[in-house]
């Protein structure tokens, strides 16, 4: 977004308007994540299962970025929608409905319903109260999943899911080959949607709400309605991500709704960079691969180092990896 501020563009109407109107066009570097993902399929054959988890979690991070990064809605309860989606897909799969895409669809619908209703309540507030309420919504759902064990399996988790082959042809295998491609495909669609929203007029108005909600009211924007819309959409994407995890791991537990789940997601997004659409694409793999490596060595240290790292990022490297890149780029250009 900083490309535009180079001074030599200014002054001429057509040049300025063009520069402004073309911001949504695809840039070459936006192809990198997809090329890397395809390359990794062939390079790391033993890690396809991890890869599938990573893609699903990136989608989760992307949905959170829409809220925190673009609309400025800081939430601690995003796992609520992830968990609801996971349970929706899981309950279907455990009860005889095994077609994966329709499960995803149902997960999206259920999660967006929960997002819409809870959004109506929590989005009336801001700051600490909003944080608390989002947290309470997730805790409430977790309590519900815990007590309603006849359906959810309670604290043992939901077991016994069966998923049909994708398009009736590609079976979910032990090595995660199918899951890898499947999750990557769904992530791609989710990313297209999120990217589209971010660059739309609606998306720009969300940025306006994040920057100065009072001003948005003063220019006649229905601020509350916009927030509820994006909250609902984001919930749907998170629900899809939860459904992916449920389908590819064949397991749903109470931890899908936990605060630690929301917290870890925030950390991943922050490491990559918030409000940049690609923060999750960087932060999630870094986090999950590091976790995969280090927690085999010593899981006790993991939370400590990741917490410390997060503090350092906020205090010294604002904007995460992508933020550091941007500053580096700016400095180079202004030489």
């Amino acid at each position: 977004m900083t490309d535009l501020s180079s001074r030599d563009l200014m002054g001429d109407r057509k040049v300025v308007v063009d520069a402004f109107a073309r911001r949504h066009r695809f840039k070459w570097y936006e192809a990198i994540p997809w090329l890397v993902a395809i390359a990794c399929y062939f390079l790391f054959e033993n890690y396809h299962a991890l890869g599938a988890q990573i893609f699903a979690t990136i989608l989760f991070a992307l949905s959170l970025d829409l809220l925190i990064g673009f609309a400025g809605i800081v939430t601690l309860g995003h796992a609520a929608f992830f968990g609801v989606g996971a349970y929706a897909a899981g309950v279907m799969a455990a009860n005889g409905w095994q077609e994966p895409f329709s499960e995803i669809l149902v997960a999206a619908i259920v999660a967006s319903g929960v997002g819409f209703v809870s959004g109506l309540i929590v989005l009336r507030t801001a700051g600490l109260t909003l944080l608390m309420q989002t947290l309470v919504v997730a805790a409430l759902l977790q309590e519900l999943a815990n007590k309603w064990s006849s359906v959810t399996g309670g604290s043992d988790g939901l077991l016994g899911m069966k998923i049909d082959p994708i398009f009736g042809a590609f079976r979910f295998d032990l090595f995660g080959d199918t899951a890898y491609v499947y999750c990557l495909g769904v992530l791609f669609i989710g990313w297209l949607l999120a990217r589209n929203i971010v660059y739309s007029s609606f998306g720009r108005s969300l940025t306006g709400i994040r920057e100065n909600a009072n001003r948005m009211h003063a220019i006649g924007a229905p601020v509350d309605r916009r927030k509820i819309i994006i909250y609902t959409i984001s919930a749907a994407l998170a629900g899809v991500s939860g459904a992916l995890i449920a389908q590819t791991t064949a397991l749903v537990g109470l931890n899908t709704l936990a605060l630690s789940k929301s917290g870890e997601l925030i950390i991943m997004l922050v490491i990559g960079g918030i409000g940049r659409l690609y923060g999750g694409f960087i932060g999630v793999p870094l986090y999950m691969i590091a976790q995969d490596r280090f927690s085999q060595i010593d899981p006790i240290y993991w939370y400590f180092w990741i917490g410390l790292f997060m503090i350092l990022v906020v205090v010294f490297a604002r904007g995460g990896v992508l933020g550091v890149f941007e500053r580096f780029n700016q400095r180079r250009r202004s030489r």
């Binding site: 601690l76 409430l140 240290y301 939370y303 917490g307 906020v314």
Partner: protein, 291 residues
């Protein structure tokens, strides 16, 4: 009928004891929130630190309860001052998001540090012999330790409120919560005020975490696990309010006890539902200023 009365008294008793703990821990959060608008999610970590130090000092160094408590508070205050200087200070008046992220990082770091130092299982507090058993009051038996807790909490709360009403420091705090700009133009050294309030809040949290170890188990996940309670107390009470959180803590403490006793199969469900209902009715909390 007398059974009903007995249950009511019991619920009130334990509920009030829990409320004292919640209030001691949360009031500092409300003040930092009201004073500097700082969302300190890691506030519970200071309570956890208080709990751990108290238990360790008593178990491993055989310090008497009272001494251990004082030392634990002192250690936490020093710890909080260091963190305030090193980290918090940089984010005063900054983005709410940065504050949330930084303190979230602190929570995770505290979880890791506590697991490393004290292991994954939670620690239990052994009250001194004097505070064990039951005491008889008006013909009923009450657990001594919880009676002590209520008494202690009531004393601290009274001291705190009197302090805020009567002392110069208290007046400065109230003025700054009310209107920070104005306070600055009146020549109040707000930077020093922040630090002092922060340290005081952390000290109270440590006290609450130490005394309340038998309500809120002192384990590595403390700051994460009980965060929702602290936030509820502050938000339902009304940000920046001193008394609001007390009322909120009473509501949470008593109703949590009541529901867990009367309808244990629903867990914490009702507390969450009540919280949402109160905020639906008053989005700024019970004692928050309205627009």
């Amino acid at each position: 009928m007398s059974e009903f009365l007995s249950i009511t008294i019991s619920i009130l008793f334990h509920g009030v004891a829990m409320a004292m703990v919640l209030y001691l821990i949360s009031v500092g959060l409300s003040v930092t929130m009201g004073l500097m608008g700082f969302v300190n999610l890691a506030h519970g970590a200071f309570a956890m630190a208080g709990g751990y130090t108290l238990v360790i000092l008593m178990k491993q160094h055989n310090l008497p309860f009272g001494v251990a408590l004082v030392v634990a508070i002192a250690i936490c205050v020093v710890l909080s001052l260091i963190l305030e200087r090193l980290l918090y200070r940089r984010l005063y008046g900054g983005d709410e998001l940065d504050q949330v992220l930084m303190t979230m990082g602190l929570i995770f770091a505290s979880v890791g540090a506590a697991t490393y130092l004290f292991g994954p299982v939670s620690q239990s507090l052994e009250p001194p012999a004097m505070l064990r058993g039951q005491i008889n009051f008006l013909g009923r038996d009450f657990p001594t330790y919880r009676s002590f807790l209520i008494l202690c909490g009531a004393l601290v709360v009274t001291a705190l409120w009197l302090g805020l009403e009567r002392t110069r420091f208290g007046a400065q705090i109230r003025a700054s919560v009310d209107n920070l700009r104005m306070a600055q133009t009146l020549g109040i050294n707000t930077s020093r005020l922040f630090t002092t309030a922060f340290a005081l809040g952390s000290g109270l949290a440590a006290l609450g975490g130490g005394l309340g170890a038998d309500f809120l188990n002192v384990g590595p996940n403390y700051a994460l696990e009980y965060l929702v309670y602290f936030l509820i107390v502050v938000a339902v009470g009304g940000l920046g309010s001193i008394r609001g959180p007390f009322v909120a803590a009473l509501i949470v403490g008593v109703s949590d006890t009541a529901f867990k006793y009367l309808a244990p199969q629903y867990g914490a469900f009702f507390i969450y539902a009540i919280t949402m209902a109160i905020l639906l009715w008053r989005p700024r909390g019970l004692f928050g200023q309205s627009a």
